[in-house]
Subunit: 309 residues, 2 copies
């Protein structure tokens, strides 16, 4: 799957991923109204609204981008019905040829991690038959529990040719509270990065490993260091746009081959129509605003990379 | 909710929680068969099998115990249908008067953590109406992302009078890989424990805080230290039984009032009928075996506490 992600990045010339993190407040009035008319102001109605919203954005952007990253929390908040919308979104994006990174940040111990891995990336046995639960292409994983929490995910990736992005240095203001604490004079995130590199070495695609890392756009200096610590790992970079990251801050997340990173923007794309820059599209054409925001993001990041490399 | 948990522990005299972590391989043949006859060998059939299995165990143990801890991964592996069984289990346990600890180990940043918190402990707004998604009483939370990943959960707990158990020192063999790394001469888990104590101080029930911690039964020495670091926090202790922990190892997780900890056993209870000690019940009476295992666990822990305190 890492080979496929790279191929798609090269084909689109866009090392970016659109975060499908639909708050109900991002969904235009008319989309909500149509969903509520069909299913009422219910959890099912909310799920239908975010699914229709996603679908329209995907329809307007899928040819420009290699991948999407649905944030499962935004669906899980609507309970089981929300998770149905998540599953529909995953399947639809795959049918449109997109690589799907499930931003699930799961992580547990032994057989429990194995169950999460089976549910999101692998398969389960039911009697004599075999099924895939959510079936994303990549998943994000929390490393706090150590190797025996991560290994079951790696095992499933090996079998299914899928991949992981492991949280190393997250984009939020207080990520340093534990991640930056010095261990033998070096921040904890570097040790986690070294572990990712170690796992990655053992699990390589053609040029990059399928064990990647998450490093926030909001920490460009740390990104520069971690790029060197994990030379073969793709870095998934959240925090672009709405969280403050800009193209020029991100060049050091990439390797000299122009690869090695994929930058996520969520709100900046899916709620673009709410920004002044894209207001001309209006609520009715929210997905066209998203397309324009994707185009601008590609120009910003490609420009920064071309200036640097 | 922490007050209610304590009240239930005192009433039952059992500081224990039954982990409803149903692997399909734990579910007796006849239960699987009935479910597959109704829904086929499908994800729905698997979900029905684990739900029926849970229901029978709850029916045979609810009067002995204060709480259950369903591990959501075991449901999530069966996709959306599995999560329907999770929700049914949560609701049924609550209807039987049990406190439900959702072992979800979620954790993200800002608005994403807020969405998880809303989905598991709080409510979401849909148009003019308000709904609860999964509606557990407590949830487990991963602290790797720092305060701004945890605070949204605390906010919801304040509003809904619910609670958290934050991962401090997990029960698995490689938990030390990051959690034990020394920061200024002290292991990281102690710093996380201090944070839990700090959050807990600010959010107290009558005697204990509603911000608790997870510390594995497999690390009794660390439990002893953390007990002192977080005097007002309840400790959820996994790793009893199948993972190797025994009653006498656990006394230092408790305070002198005999409270402050709640010990989880999953496989040791729900798959008791597979153990030699309870084999006499047979597969047909698996839930009676679970009841016997609960009774033995209560005797073991109560005995150890009485010998010590």
């Amino acid at each position: 799957m890492i080979n496929r992600l790279i191929e798609k990045i090269q084909k689109t010339g866009a090392p970016i991923v659109v975060g499908l993190d639909p708050m109900l407040s991002y969904v235009p009035e008319h989309v909500q109204k149509a969903a509520f008319e069909e299913y009422g102001e219910t959890l099912r109605g909310a799920a239908e609204a975010i699914w229709q919203f996603n679908k329209e954005i995907v329809d307007h952007t899928f040819d420009l981008i290699p991948a999407v990253k649905p944030q499962i929390a935004m669906y899980e908040q609507f309970g089981v019905k929300g998770l149905e919308a998540y599953k529909k979104t995953v399947d639809y994006c795959k049918s449109r040829g997109l690589v799907v990174i499930g931003d699930v940040k799961r992580g547990d111990i032994g057989s429990t991690s194995a169950a999460y891995a089976a549910g999101h990336l692998g398969k389960v046995q039911v009697g004599s038959r075999v099924y895939a639960g959510f079936d994303e292409d990549f998943a994000t994983v929390n490393p706090y529990l150590g190797s025996d929490g991560v290994n079951p995910f790696i095992e499933v990736c090996k079998e299914e040719k899928k991949g992981l992005f492991i949280l190393v240095k997250t984009s939020n203001p207080s990520s340093g509270e534990f991640q930056d604490r010095l261990v033998d004079g070096r921040p904890l995130y570097e040790l986690v990065g070294e572990k990712v590199a170690e796992w990655g070495e053992a699990h390589c695609g053609d040029t990059y490993s399928y064990i990647g890392a998450v490093v926030g756009a909001t920490y460009p200096e740390q990104g520069k260091t971690l790029r060197k610590v994990m030379p073969k790992s793709f870095i998934l970079v959240p925090g672009y746009g709405a969280q403050g990251g800009k193209g020029k801050d991100l060049v050091h997340f990439f390797n000299e081959d122009g690869l090695g990173a994929i930058v996520n923007s969520s709100r900046g794309i899916i709620a673009a129509y709410k920004q002044e820059a894209y207001a001309k599209y209006g609520e009715a054409h929210f997905a066209e605003a998203s397309r324009a925001a994707v185009e601008d993001m590609i120009v910003d990041i490609r420009g920064a990379l071309e200036a640097e490399l």
